[in-house]
């Protein structure tokens, strides 16, 4: 134990305390950042402290949800868990999570560390902490992506995985070819999860697909069915690369406003799951968490019960009440997540006012061209569900333009750059519900305004909209 470590932990805890007193932000990465500056090898001190194992979740969309689901299951089984639950998934967020649970001397008492790690931070974090299980959920192109960057991200994750001990087990999404390929490429023991590809689930969102070629021979991949984005039942037209048969497979899937039901099948037994959140992407998150728990020896019944009481993390999807109106706030950050949020809007039962706030700061992505890869066209299928679209943020005009060209009538499109006025307009509209979709740097200011105007709902409600991480 070093003095540096103690100083680092003390300083970080002090910052946590102060930010709590000031009620400022969520303080989920600043303390870790400070601690790492004082003690750069801080994470090395925590590496072997979880009594049983460390599990890491990485990939593009759904990390926070998957991670929180898994942490919830393990806690339900009676374990003590350290997790970075707020989506702070860089090395600073991981450090903060450990420090929050540690004594002043840097001692952490827990059975498991369940860590969400950003794809780009995966190499840096695994340098210090070797997970026993790595859950890789999907790879989508982010709006920040530059040419070929997705390829680089996958290569970096693969290289980092190869640095882990031979005993490491990978839990991979069988339905995403960009993920499933890692089993063969790494040579590590891999377990797969997936959704049985049946025609009824075939998605109709055609754009923002990434995997077009076989990673092994370069020939085209052929899809029997697309579930969403590049997830589906694929096989190479030339070599033997194909969707692997999942070890845990969801079947008889139904999704509705109230949530998602499915049977989870391990080839011997089946467990019915009634997931309180809707959308195929959340089923995938649940499958990933279930498979990890299953491999850790958690009773499947406990895992299912843990998933059925899952409530979305704050900040990703929040509900408010304004008079009799339900108000939902959702973060959108890339075409796949935005498409999921839009299909969530379509399942709403009452007419709604929709506010969309688009910023183009560095954290949002300075280039907002990706809005044209989002299928806003689906909104015009049920025009009766939408009273108005209020476009806000630094790129409000671009958002309005995108809606116009998607076929939304310009007469129901408003432009209001100012968040405060946009929120007021949305809340005071004539329809019975309000959905607010925002990019990253618009999230906190809009949330702040909403929480002043409307009452925050503690519980998730059945009107849940996809969360994105």
């Amino acid at each position: 134990m070093s003095l540096r470590l103690i100083l680092a932990v003390l300083a970080a805890k002090l910052v946590m305390h102060i930010s709590r007193l000031l009620g400022k932000g969520r303080g989920s990465s600043l303390p870790g950042m400070l601690a790492l500056r004082i003690c750069p090898d801080l994470l090395g001190h925590f590496e072997n402290q979880p009594r049983t194992a460390t599990i890491m979740v990485t990939g593009t969309n759904g990390k926070t949800t998957t991670n929180n689901m898994l942490a919830g299951i393990l806690e339900r089984e009676g374990y003590q868990v350290v997790a970075n639950r707020e989506g702070a998934n860089l090395i600073t967020g991981v450090a903060t999570a450990f420090i929050r649970s540690s004594s002043i001397l840097g001692r952490v008492r827990c059975d498991y560390a369940v860590l969400e790690v950003d794809e780009a931070a995966f190499t840096g974090v695994t340098k210090w902490i070797k997970p026993r299980l790595v859950v890789i959920i999907n790879f989508f192109r982010d709006q920040l992506d530059r040419y070929g960057e997705l390829d680089t991200t996958i290569k970096n994750v693969l290289a980092a995985v190869k640095q882990l001990p031979d005993s490491t087990v990978l839990i991979l999404n069988a339905d995403d070819p960009l993920v499933a390929r890692l089993a063969r490429e790494s040579g590590y023991h891999s377990k797969f999860y997936g959704v049985r590809p049946v025609q009824e689930l075939s998605g109709n969102v055609a754009y923002s697909r990434e995997a077009k070629f076989c990673p092994f021979c370069g020939h085209a991949l052929e899809y029997n069915i697309y579930l969403y984005s590049q997830l589906g039942d694929y096989k190479c037209t030339q070599c033997d690369f194909a969707r692997p048969q999942p070890d845990i497979e969801a079947e008889s899937v139904t999704t509705g406003v109230g949530g998602t039901t499915a049977f989870l099948n391990d080839d011997k037994n089946k467990w019915q799951l009634n997931l309180p959140v809707r959308g195929m992407h959340n089923l995938y998150n649940a499958l990933a968490a279930f498979t990890a728990a299953y491999l850790l020896g958690v009773k499947p019944e406990t895992a299912v019960a843990g998933l059925e009481t899952y409530t979305p993390a704050t900040g990703r999807m929040e509900s408010f009440r304004y008079g009799s109106k339900q108000v939902v706030l959702v973060l959108v950050k890339n075409p796949t997540g935005f498409n999921q949020a839009l299909s969530g809007l379509l399942t709403g039962e009452v007419e709604q006012d929709v506010m969309i706030a688009i910023n183009d700061n560095a954290a949002d992505g300075r280039d907002i061209s990706w809005l044209w890869d989002v299928d806003f066209e689906i909104l015009t299928r049920t025009p009766e569900k939408f009273k108005r679209f209020i476009c806000s943020g630094q790129r409000a005009e671009d958002m309005a333009l995108r809606l116009k060209y998607a076929g939304v009538s310009p007469t129901i499109i408003e432009i209001e750059n100012d968040f405060s006025r946009a929120v007021d307009s949305a809340l005071n509209g004539e329809s019975g519900a309000v959905s607010v979709l925002v990019t990253y740097t618009a999230l906190w200011p809009v949330e702040k305004i909403l929480s002043r105007r409307a009452e925050r709902m503690k519980q998730s409600v059945d009107y849940s909209v996809p969360s994105v991480s």
């Binding site: 040419y147 005009e397 309005a400 499109i413």
Partner: protein, 241 residues
């Protein structure tokens, strides 16, 4: 009578919302009651360029780009004939580079382009990324085009006409103040955004040229462009004050 649009390699070249250019072209035809058909042409699909009125080609990552260079190389004669005959073409970013003579790698190796237009591109040492404003004359009208550029290659025109002059940003190479290229009815640009939605003057000019080539009156009925103008002006104001 219908306008036929060829979207080249949408499966491969769809970076940065490029399909927004096709959406914009198509919608502005439809809002005027013009019938439009879009055909998507992918690798190995047969294509007769002379049958089209407007051809769009976008950008992709390096790997996709080289697949396409090979595929399109095999069809270059028919494409050249159509271009010489006045086919209206919009080529963005990687698609733009592809139409030139060659791309010179950092090692000095020259990878042949299609050679339809007389310009060349060389690898730069930094990516040119950010919002752009360009002053251009489109169909006799002075206009400011706005978009977002993100390219590693630097393009140099051998006396070819540029699309416009850079008011803000880098353009072709960050050095000579030029952006894009024009030749007959071919328009090339590094601007994503996508380019056409926020620059309706250019979109309408492309439509008019396509109609003209078909021998149809070129007077386009005006549309309500208040959102388009607001979006364009907001960016012009941000970049140029």
């Amino acid at each position: 009578m219908s306008i036929t649009v060829c979207h080249l390699y949408p499966d491969l070249l769809n970076l940065y919302g490029d399909r927004g250019n096709v959406i914009s072209f198509v919608q502005r035809c439809r809002w005027r009651g013009l019938d439009v058909q879009v055909r998507e042409i992918n690798l190995d699909n047969p294509v007769k360029f002379e049958e089209y009125d407007f051809l769009f080609i976008g950008g992709g990552s390096d790997r996709e780009q080289s697949l396409i260079a090979a595929d399109l190389g095999a069809r270059v004669d028919s494409l050249r004939a159509a271009v010489e005959d006045g086919l209206v073409v919009l080529a963005i970013c990687g698609g733009y580079q592809l139409l030139g003579r060659f791309y010179r790698t950092p090692e000095g190796k020259e990878i042949a382009g299609l050679g339809l237009l007389d310009f060349y591109t060389e690898a730069g040492n930094r990516r040119l990324i950010g919002n752009v404003a360009v002053e251009a004359e489109i169909g006799g009208r002075k206009t400011i085009l706005v978009g977002f550029e993100n390219h590693g290659g630097k393009t140099f025109l051998n006396g070819l006409k540029p699309l416009g002059r850079v008011l803000f940003g880098n353009g072709n190479n960050g050095m000579d103040g030029l952006e894009g290229a024009r030749y007959k009815n071919v328009f090339c640009s590094y601007l994503h955004g996508p380019l056409l939605p926020k620059n309706p003057v250019l979109t309408d000019y492309l439509i008019a040229l396509a109609l003209q080539r078909k021998g149809i009156g070129t007077e386009l009925s005006p549309l309500d462009d208040s959102i388009e103008e607001r979006a364009n002006k907001a960016m012009v104001k941000r970049l140029l004050g």
